[in-house]
Symmetry: C2
Subunit: 472 residues, 2 copies
């Protein structure tokens, strides 16, 4: 940490010159507010929070920070779950909240140009009004911003059919560590023109540049959807049913798995929905179908209903009204919060090839028994993306601090042995970085470090993230 | 060029030690054979051609070449159209043809693991046999290899619905310039675990590493398809019809545009197909629809037929038999060869947002008039990807060498002003590199160079490609 410069009053004065007085905050309350995201109860305060309002200001800011070797951590809506927006090395928290304009929705070309501070759901809704569809829909879509979604290559329920954020990004305006401004690509659907800097930036967690404009591709909005809830008497069987549905030739637009505890705990926070529960029900699948032909959706729903019988499904409930549908999805979107309210916890964002999900679930439980922790699992089963929530419950602090990381390592080793990896959609950030050598060999990490060094030689952009601590 | 080491007998002897005698060729005929691809009539001979048969041999070879600063240019099937496989700096041509195994088609997970020397169509067919679909289908799919497809992020007709090669690549085994071997990602559908080295490798034209294994994602094979041929009395109107079809909510699985000359010239080489021609017919759209419901395809075909009437379509022909369908697609796939046989030519792989296609076509013709060249245009209209074939005809050599490049620069400036870029699917390679500064600013090219330097400090991997010559 000591290679970085601590902010002095002189630095703050200069920042105020660059961004105006109202563009720089150093009061304790602001530093605390911008010193956390949604990751556990972690707080790492910056020394200043800045609010640039145009690309030239971001450029001037980075040029100055780079010359003075001051860390700069971009923050969006601070809804992240891997601690990626924490100012772990102090310095400047760069809030992109003034970059909140939808600059153009180009109906002719099914494209949109937006600033990174736009809230996901606001953008989704603006596109929908014009008959266009922006599919990525993280659980936090009502508050998270598109810039943050790009930084972590966010997913969401619809990824199972429509893919994650990076599939919709065509072109980016990016300010580099030295203040230079580039466009990474072009506004086209196919591109074989030089290195794919667009996809290098997406998922790089603010460590390679600051995104100031995004060009998205969009789809026509599907006119129909249908939501099903299927309770199962076995969580593993529910996971097996997921693969069977795809093998029947059906690609749902949502395929969510929730273990018993996940539903039970969440029902305490959501009161306008009734779902079958009871000791015999061990898991639910929440399934969405979409398209333009309502009859075809019902045909698929019937196929699913017939098929899940072989996997110990208790029933198949179809949401008949928009209100029922919304209530079920609200339930799913609240699971994370509910688990968080229940206990101190750690969330692992494991992802494996889809058909390996039953093995992953069984393995997580076995590792839990070995290390004495309880886990609540839920997530995007159609993508093989299982959120493993490890709850502290009555574990001792020592077990939590010392033993648990060994158990988490075992979970990740299992994930990798199944062809999977550490994070499907939350990113590595601060809390997963020391597990990176489980999935990548030394040569791979050396390449990633070399790219970081090439784009940000002084390491000012979001230091302390992604890369394992060197001494490990 | 003089920074590289020329091969001596001692080097060749060492290569033979590494790869066996039959793994190294230095005879004139081999050097000539591996000294060209399908780009114009260019020949740049290597000093040796090598044929490693496993990743360890590739690793040993690169380690040795790197230590001795010998250029290494990977070659696939040499069907490329941008000169990317030419040994412009001599050294070693690294043929991947012994890497021709389909290692696994994993039906449970809709994935496959293959070696890069497998021919595209062979892989496509092997997947199809198991009910699985690998969509990318470049015109040369009968001979091009998957490794080459990755190197240039190849497209093909089906990209309009299914996307290009990079959308199907989950994970890569890559040998780095220094001989280190890495896996870039994981075998998962979503991944937020470090930098996206997978997508950095795809499209990098063999300049960042040598791909030795590929993990693809696959789709269920659609059971039905339907091919339409639509002749138009105006090429620009045909281009306008393309956008109108998408706006009607139809996403065809093929949407190919062919100007009059492209069809007329190709008909000389394909004799088992009859298409309407004549002076009044200025262009054709070849349209494919696919899915699992034959009735739905006919419904969409009727919508298209009604819609194209407004754009001066002469007729709508539906291929009634598989033979007719195959003949039409064979015609389309042969256009490139036909143009090549007709005259000395240069092909530009322009790509713009789809709705800008009419403007691009008009602009290309205007620029042609200004500089005195004739162009034949065809390509993947649904993606905005227009192949502009400039034929030498009776242009003087001087006009061809000196004036034409200025005209091409104007075409690319037009492309960029429309939101497009230099290459949609052929890559930059050797022949487009000096146009790169039309689309990228200095800071962007500096980033690309820095990445190249970080991964290949001595610049041995496919030198002389992608980056503009420094003196320009």
């Amino acid at each position: 940490m000591d290679e970085f410069t601590k902010l002095t009053q002189e630095h703050v004065t200069h920042l105020q010159k660059l961004l105006g007085n109202e563009g720089v905050r150093v009061d304790e309350e602001s530093l605390r507010e911008y010193g956390h995201d949604e990751t556990e109860d972690l707080v790492h305060m910056p020394e200043a929070v800045v609010f640039p309002s145009c690309v030239d200001e971001v450029s001037a800011l980075l040029k100055y920070a780079n010359e003075n070797v001051i860390p700069v951590t971009a923050v969006g809506a601070r809804t992240g779950l891997s601690g990626g927006a924490l100012s772990t090395h102090g310095g400047i928290a760069l809030s992109m909240e003034k970059f909140n304009a939808i600059l153009e929705i180009d109906q002719r070309n099914f494209q949109a140009t937006v600033e990174p501070g736009v809230i996901n759901y606001v953008f989704h809704s603006a596109c929908k009004e014009k008959g266009l569809f922006y599919p990525p829909d993280p659980s936090s879509w009502g508050s998270c911003t598109l810039g943050g979604n790009l930084a972590y290559n966010a997913g969401g329920p619809k990824a199972v059919k429509y893919g994650v954020t990076n599939q919709y990004v065509l072109n980016l305006e990016v300010v580099l560590a030295n203040g230079d401004v580039i466009w990474t690509g072009a506004n086209v659907l196919k591109n074989s023109t030089g290195y794919n800097l667009t996809q290098l930036m997406v998922g790089s967690e603010g460590t390679l540049g600051i995104i100031t404009k995004i060009v998205f591709k969009l789809l026509p909005y599907p006119s129909e959807d249908l939501t099903l809830l299927v309770p199962f008497t076995s969580a593993e069987k529910a996971c097996e049913a997921v693969s069977a549905i795809f093998h029947a030739g059906i690609t749902p637009s949502g395929m969510e798995f929730m273990e018993k505890d996940a539903i039970d705990w969440t029902l305490k926070y959501v009161d306008d929905v009734s779902v079958p529960t009871g000791d015999h029900i061990r898991a639910h699948l929440l399934i969405e179908l979409d398209g333009n032909d309502r009859e075809a959706l019902y045909t698929d729903a019937e196929k699913i209903a017939a098929l899940v019988e072989d996997f110990d499904a208790v029933d198949v409930l179809i949401a008949e009204s928009q209100a029922q549908r919304d209530a079920l999805w609200k339930l799913r979107r609240r699971v994370g919060e509910a688990v968080k309210s229940h206990s101190i916890y750690k969330e692992e964002d494991t992802v494996v090839p889809r058909a390996e999900l039953p093995k992953l679930l069984r393995g997580v439980k076995e590792i839990g028994e070995k290390y004495g922790f309880k886990s609540v699992c839920y997530g995007h089963a159609g993508d093989g993306n299982l959120h493993v929530n490890i709850v502290k419950g009555n574990m001792t602090d020592e077990a939590w601090e010392v033993e648990l990381p060994k158990g988490i390592s075992e979970i990740f080793k299992l994930v990798v042995s199944l062809g999977g990896t550490l994070s499907g959609e939350h990113g590595i950030g601060f809390v997963q970085k020391n597990y990176m050598d489980i999935v990548f060999n030394h040569a791979n990490l050396a390449v990633q470090r070399a790219i970081k060094k090439a784009l940000d030689p002084k390491g000012i952009l979001n230091p302390g993230k992604i890369f394992p601590d060197q001494h490990l």
